[in-house]
Symmetry: C2
Subunit: 361 residues, 2 copies
């Protein structure tokens, strides 16, 4: 048995999944009433949203809500569970943009529909059908997330309080995603730019904004929550960056059986992460040439992946990023320690910091 | 000088564009503050939303609002103008899914960013960059549309009234889009299925739902507006289908200088429209073989396009669809004539029926 905070997070995760299951069932029925052809996309999107995921964003929002004095309720659970559907949109579109074949150990959405097209020997082009389905299912997930929030049953004051934060978060998410694809068009890596992307994609979207959403549900007056928002930024921004660095390490060194993504996926996609940018700052000329020759190759062999991993390790880039994660996490925890917060909320945030930065998937 | 209704629509179109311009300027500044790299996407999305478009959906919402007794205000204008940004999302993603090169006489968004990548000799793949940018700009347009609605300044009662209708409309839009791409995987056309798609893509999304949105802003109690909603459905559904049939005809016979899309675009994409499905019901075996050989060819020559057009005309499919447009429009106008509506609103809806079904672009 875990600590009280661990038990509470576990219970909350189950409640989030119950609410998601209910919402997806209702909405799938709505689609089925329009046309039976909408059965497969509804089922795909439902199982994509339910089979896996750490539910980190709703849990951060929940912890922040409790930390700001909120009392848990099914309405608030529904409101924050909607963040999982936004995340489904981000992942489906991300996989499409990156051309990733797998997600959470299964076929990514565009590959799933491509295969479906091939197996059923449908007319037209399988690749195009897969891409089209992924664009539209991502859009549907985005619209559903909004609908789940709007129809959650939270009070009018809570809804009016959360909408502006939610909208700003989504704009920042799309901005971060655009910066990420734009970064891949740069010929050289830059630690500075990689850090900026980490800040928007993860610092803000994964941690800080979900915390602000939680705060906005507990304290509906913006002036009244400015102090706690600042605390949450001081905790959330460094923690979110640490979360992203952990992602970077898992994208290179992660166990594919646990991450559900192929080993070395970030290397095949030549992601300009902080880890890779740091490596480039430290390589010999020979190593630089080797990396430039191999990063981004879609058919990277496992021996080459091992050689790249060795370079990242021996240059010290790997331990540099590990140290950075620790430093950023310490900064987040220090902000938490000195903050005036409801004690259960603080315990939840402490536990979540552990989960976000020490995870293996 | 036009009629009073024409003048009012013209003035409203200008106000919608003013509000869109203001919103896009503010939001582009927000992005520029995040990173200068966000300048090009912000500019592209702004000019895409501002350069062209008939503003039909906001105008339908406006007419319905006035028809239901609403008084015009900048807040309501902002709320309904947001529909143009939703439409920007639909068009950007639609062009990406269909692989269309042009929109409103200019490069489609994915082609624009592909060209930008080539011209600036960026790293990575131009096609992939173009596709990624189009996915994300469509997402951003969707989020912006929501933000523009949420921050429009309409009353809380209006916002609570409009959100459920708005959410349902967006789900129906994505459902219609999915049915559309799914239809292209069918080996044969079907008038029945083509009509169903026309109902969701246009009957509901382009006309009926914008009307319900207008009604929900004028009468915030759902039971109180059930009668006017029914009137708007009786007018909006047939009119929306007629709108889509006009689109089908323009997609084959339209003047590319006016439509801003290449001549015969629907033939190159082998769209299963009501027009094409009707043609297939009436062709000889020889014509059927000819159509199957040529529809969907991306490099269709203009002589072949002319031959296909001739088949569509001589089989009588073209005049059948023209008759259907007239019949559907008559049904819409009859519903309008017998309805109890505020007179200016009725005049606006009359005028809009003309614009939606007799247009040349």
């Amino acid at each position: 048995m875990g600590s009280k905070a661990q038990e509470l997070l576990k219970a909350m995760r189950a409640e989030i999944e119950t609410e998601l299951t209910l919402f997806l069932k209702e909405q799938s029925q709505f689609l089925a009433n329009i046309a039976e052809e909408l059965g497969p996309p509804a089922r795909s999107l439902s199982s994509f949203s339910l089979d896996g995921g750490k539910r980190l964003r709703p849990l951060f929002a929940f912890a922040a809500y409790i930390g700001a004095g909120g009392k848990s309720s099914p309405e608030v659970t529904r409101a924050i569970a909607s963040l999982e559907l936004l995340q489904a949109c981000a992942l489906i579109h991300d996989d499409l943009i990156d051309g990733s074949d797998t997600r959470r150990g299964k076929a990514s959405i565009h590959r799933h529909f491509e295969t479906l097209h091939q197996n059923q020997e449908l007319a037209g082009f399988a690749t195009r059908y897969g891409q089209g389905a992924a664009v539209l299912l991502g859009d549907l997930a985005l619209v559903w997330s909004d609908q789940m929030l709007n129809s959650s049953g939270i009070t009018t004051a809570q809804l009016l309080s959360v909408l502006p934060v939610h909208d700003e978060m989504r704009v920042e998410l799309m901005a971060g995603q655009f910066l990420d694809i734009h970064e891949q068009t740069e010929k050289n890596t830059s630690v500075h730019r990689a850090l900026k992307i980490a800040r928007f994609k993860s610092g803000k979207y994964t941690v800080e904004r979900p915390l602000h959403i939680g705060a906005s549900l507990a304290i509906t007056s913006l002036p009244d929550r400015s102090e706690i928002n600042e605390i949450y930024s001081n905790y959330g921004l460094p923690l979110g960056e640490a979360f992203q660095m952990r992602d970077d390490l898992l994208g290179v060194f992660g166990d594919s059986n646990i991450t559900g993504k192929p080993a070395g996926d970030d290397l095949r996609e030549s992601k300009h992460t902080v880890l890779i940018a740091t490596t480039f700052e430290r390589v010999s000329e020979k190593q630089r040439v080797f990396l430039h020759e191999n990063l981004g190759k879609t058919n990277l062999e496992s021996a080459t992946i091992d050689s790249i991993r060795e370079i990242i390790t021996t240059t010290g880039a790997r331990s540099y990023v590990e140290d950075l994660i620790e430093e950023l996490t310490d900064r987040a925890l220090a902000a938490l320690a000195r903050a005036s917060l409801e004690e259960t909320g603080r315990a939840l945030l402490l536990e979540l910091a552990e989960i976000a930065t020490k995870r293996s998937k």
